[in-house]
């Protein structure tokens, strides 16, 4: 049994079904991200856990106690919202003390806890500033400290980085993870940003159309997608249609040629599949080399150390993206004819309906 459990939760807003029979269990101290596109139900699920929405069906349990009917104020959960949730009429310190103040905690204890938390989030020197005098990143740090002040049984983060600029996002997400590991608080982090989810989570829950599409470690979600939605949503992937020819040997037919694919072993001959290639598994060589697929460099995107090359496959077979060191990629001008190949165990195989 998990520390924080959601079981059989369903929720509709009018005729729109937002969550369908969702079950999820978090271990104590675990950091789990809910990842998915807009409208997939991740924020609704978080709000049900927080008590701001009532599920139509299902239960929420925390530390062995059912809390489905408990109001948010009684749940002992800290929540950080997207943005602008600090009380504007209170200083950073007063914001942090608020939860303790309404719980009638002794003033000295409030001050001590606020001091600890301001130190934890690195804002001691900004304690007397009002929210509008703080940057977006500082405001979210204060919001995090405020949520932690009540020593929550669970921390709920609702896209807390979405309103920040790219550099601050990266800094703050690392800080969130550091603080979570220091405080060992069980955390649910909602995001639509796969990089964020993969970089700081113990486990990632990919959601799609109100259901859990896949739950797993970041490596499993990225490397072993269970379904085509997860493969497409998490990371870039080339989807090549293929068919299993020999399941015992792991041979598949790809654009009329037989290629080895270790993950196709055990599949019945004739099974229609997606042959999935992540950019970092694609090798690019001279045209005709290694018996790979021929193609032409059709586009490039520079990412600093790496450059992403879009290679149009010959005979209109679609395109493949290859990520390679920028110095090597610079040798391949647009229009260069190349060959793409991969290691036998690189392609991920998914059944194609």
């Amino acid at each position: 049994m998990g520390y924080l459990e959601v079981e059989g939760v369903a929720k509709s807003f009018g005729p729109v079904k937002v969550l369908s029979d969702v079950s999820l269990a978090l271990e104590e101290g675990e950091f789990v991200s809910l990842l998915g596109p807009s409208g997939c139900g991740k924020t609704t699920l978080l709000r049900i856990v927080a008590g701001f929405e009532e599920p139509d069906r299902g239960t929420v349990r925390l530390a062995g106690t059912e809390i489905t009917a408990e109001p948010p104020a009684k749940r002992q959960m800290g929540m950080v919202f997207q943005a602008y949730s600090l009380f504007p009429n209170m200083t950073a310190e007063e914001n942090i003390r608020f939860g303790l103040k309404v719980r009638r905690v002794d003033a000295n204890e409030q001050a001590e806890r606020a001091r600890e938390l301001l130190e934890l989030v690195g804002l001691t020197q900004h304690r007397g500033k009002y929210p509008h005098q703080l940057s977006g990143g500082q405001q979210q740090r204060v919001a995090l400290a405020r949520a932690l002040a009540i020593r929550p049984l669970a921390l709920l983060l609702d896209e807390p980085l979405s309103a920040l600029d790219a550099k601050v996002r990266v800094q703050l997400r690392e800080e969130i993870r550091r603080i979570q590991q220091e405080t060992k608080v069980t955390t649910i982090f909602v995001t639509h940003d796969q990089e964020e989810a993969l970089s700081i989570s113990d486990r990632v829950v990919v959601m799609h159309q109100g259901q859990l599409s896949q739950v797993g470690t970041p490596a499993a979600i990225y490397g072993e997608p269970d379904n085509i939605f997860v493969a497409r949503f998490v990371g870039a992937v080339a989807e090549l249609p293929a068919e299993v020819v020999d399941g015992r040997e792991g041979i598949v037919a790809l654009f009329g040629r037989k290629v080895r694919a270790a993950r196709a072993q055990g599949m019945a001959a004739g099974t229609r599949i997606y042959f999935l290639l992540r950019p970092e598994t694609v090798r690019v060589g001279p045209e005709g080399a290694n018996g790979g697929l021929d193609g032409t460099v059709a586009g490039r995107t520079f990412f600093g150390a790496l450059t992403s090359l879009r290679i149009e496959l010959a005979d209109g077979h679609g395109s493949v993206t290859a990520a390679m060191p920028s110095d090597k990629a610079s040798e391949l001008a647009q229009g260069t004819r190349v060959s793409v190949s991969w290691a036998d165990d690189a392609p991920r195989i998914l059944r194609r309906e």
Partner: protein, 302 residues
């Protein structure tokens, strides 16, 4: 991008901004200029003339008329006007704010809000003789409601109520003060973010805690501004109280009318001195407001 290109980009980028800034300045002058002229002609100039009149006698400068403001009748008029304005503003503030809050609560019928807003826009501007007539016809000594209440055993006038009293005028003023409050406070209520309430709840706050520590302190500057507006609105009202009380309740605007129209005496200087007194009251109220607003709104200052 090369430095040259970047510099070129900057140049082309600043040109339109400069153009719009210049043309914006001209447009501002075209549209705001006439308004400033209008204000100068019909507010500043009359105020200066009023001051000049208040301090002018047959032989030039005099304190006489301003000095007469401490006469008993005048002091009663000021006390009544301030009492009526302060009370009706408070009634408007409380009832208007609560009405606006409950109309805006989630789950209220969609049409209710637009109905209340539309009614408020009309009612806030419905004052003067028609309003006085409406109240005389309903709450006057022979008004419909008065008579009906009497028929069920509630004798308003027997109990001492008079429409032409401060209490009666407060009830009449509520008709336009409450809608005005609804109109001015609605944007401030809308600006209260849902996240503040949820964050407070999440941290363990009750509804009372939320309003005590978050909601009301955030609204306080707006409530103060609204109170000043309502106070000024009541303080300067003339036609409504005159039509209702025919001067029985001494109020400064009615006194000014009396000395200007010559019903009692004709003395433009006394009228100007009374108006000067009204300006002093408003300046004092505004000064008090500025002091309090500075304190309660310190969190919003850069």
């Amino acid at each position: 991008m090369s430095q040259a290109a970047a510099a070129a980009g900057t140049r082309t980028g600043t040109r339109p901004a400069g153009f719009f800034a210049r043309s914006g300045g001209a447009l501002t002058l075209i549209f705001v200029g006439p308004f400033l002229l209008y204000v100068s002609a019909f507010l500043i100039l009359p105020t200066l003339m009023l001051l000049a009149t208040a301090f002018s006698g047959a032989h030039g400068f005099t304190w006489r008329y301003v000095g007469e403001l401490d006469q008993a009748q005048t002091l009663i008029a000021f006390r009544n006007s301030i009492e009526l304005s302060a009370t009706s503003a408070l009634v408007g503030l409380v009832i208007g704010a609560l009405a606006a809050y409950f109309v805006m609560r989630p789950g209220m019928p969609r049409g209710l809000r637009s109905l209340v807003t539309t009614f408020s826009a009309v009612a806030a501007n419905f004052a003067g003789v028609p309003l006085a007539f409406a109240f005389i016809a309903t709450l006057g000594s022979l008004g419909v409601i008065t008579v009906w209440l009497k028929s069920i055993g509630i004798d308003l006038y027997g109990a001492g109520f008079r429409l032409y009293s401060i209490l009666g005028l407060v009830i009449v003023y509520a008709y336009f003060q409450v809608p005005l409050m609804i109109i001015v406070i609605t944007p401030a209520l809308e600006a209260l973010r849902k996240q503040w309430r949820e964050a407070a709840e999440n941290l363990g706050a009750s509804s009372i805690d939320y309003w005590r520590y978050v909601g009301l302190p955030i609204l306080l500057p707006s409530l103060l501004s609204a109170y000043i507006l309502l106070f000024g609105n009541a303080f300067s009202a003339y036609a409504t109280p005159y039509a209702i009380s025919s001067g029985i309740v001494a109020l400064v605007p009615v006194e000014i009318s009396n000395v200007l129209s010559g019903n009692v005496m004709l003395s433009p200087q006394t009228g100007a001195a009374l108006a000067f007194g009204m300006i002093l009251v408003m300046v004092a109220v505004m000064g008090l407001y500025a002091l309090i607003a500075r304190q309660v709104g310190r969190w919003a200052r850069p």
